[in-house]
């Protein structure tokens, strides 16, 4: 028997009813865009451990910036 859960698309607030497998996938892949409305929903373990692709990219970009940008040089007073 298929389980269905209500999942909210955060940007619009619209709620969709989807099969659990699909809800699990959306929560794992795009937690920044989707959230489950039902309280009895159990999040898949992998979603709790892993960061979304979006979060990984943001972190990666920040790390790359840190490597590329030169360190701030302390201002020296002109004599």
């Amino acid at each position: 028997m298929k389980e269905f859960y209500n999942i909210k698309y955060k940007p619009t607030g619209y709620v969709f009813t989807m099969e659990k497998a699909e809800v699990d996938r959306l929560i794992e892949e795009e937690p920044e865009n989707f959230e489950v409305v039902d309280e009895d929903y159990n999040m898949p373990e992998s979603a709790e451990k892993d960061k979304s692709t979006y979060e990984k990219v943001v972190i990666q970009v920040e790390e790359e910036k840190a490597e590329v940008l030169p360190k701030k040089v302390a201002k020296t007073k002109k004599k």
Binding site: Y9, Y14, T17, M18, L26, T53
Partner: protein, 137 residues
């Protein structure tokens, strides 16, 4: 399984260049195959619109625009929720139409041959087509 291919469909404008129209050709979706939107970048900038006609009425579905093969692919796939069709009491359904604009960061989805891959959630049934403004004068 090879993807079913669709092409962009371009409206033809009237002699005053004010109104464009196009008789649309729909592609039935075979969920297991997915869709390849060919030459997705040949239209005018920021004008690609994908239409999904959902005829599955048991639950809402999902369209996944797959990450491409270029630099912005690192942002990953993008999922769009699709409202289910309305089941009619006498049988049959009233389809639901969803308009999806892929016009902000299309490069995220660009494959090396210039196409974009579209996938649908497991139970989805329906039709898909895509339109764009013709590039050039």
């Amino acid at each position: 399984m090879a993807r079913d291919a669709i092409d962009l469909q371009y409206p033809t404008y009237d002699t005053t260049d004010s109104v464009g129209s196009k008789k649309i050709t729909k592609q039935a979706v075979t969920q297991a195959n997915g869709i390849e939107l060919k030459k997705a970048f040949s239209g005018k900038d920021n004008s690609v619109v994908v239409y999904v006609e959902n005829t599955y009425s048991s639950a809402d579905s999902t369209l996944t625009i797959k990450a491409g093969e270029k630099q912005n692919a690192k942002l990953g796939d993008c999922n769009v929720a699709l409202t289910k069709a309305t089941a009619l009491s006498g049988g049959g359904v009233t389809p639901t139409l969803t308009e999806v604009r892929i016009n902000r960061d299309m490069a995220r989805f660009e494959r090396n041959n210039g196409s974009i891959y579209l996938d649908f959630s497991s139970s989805f049934t329906g039709n898909v087509w895509a339109t764009a403004e013709k590039a050039g004068l």
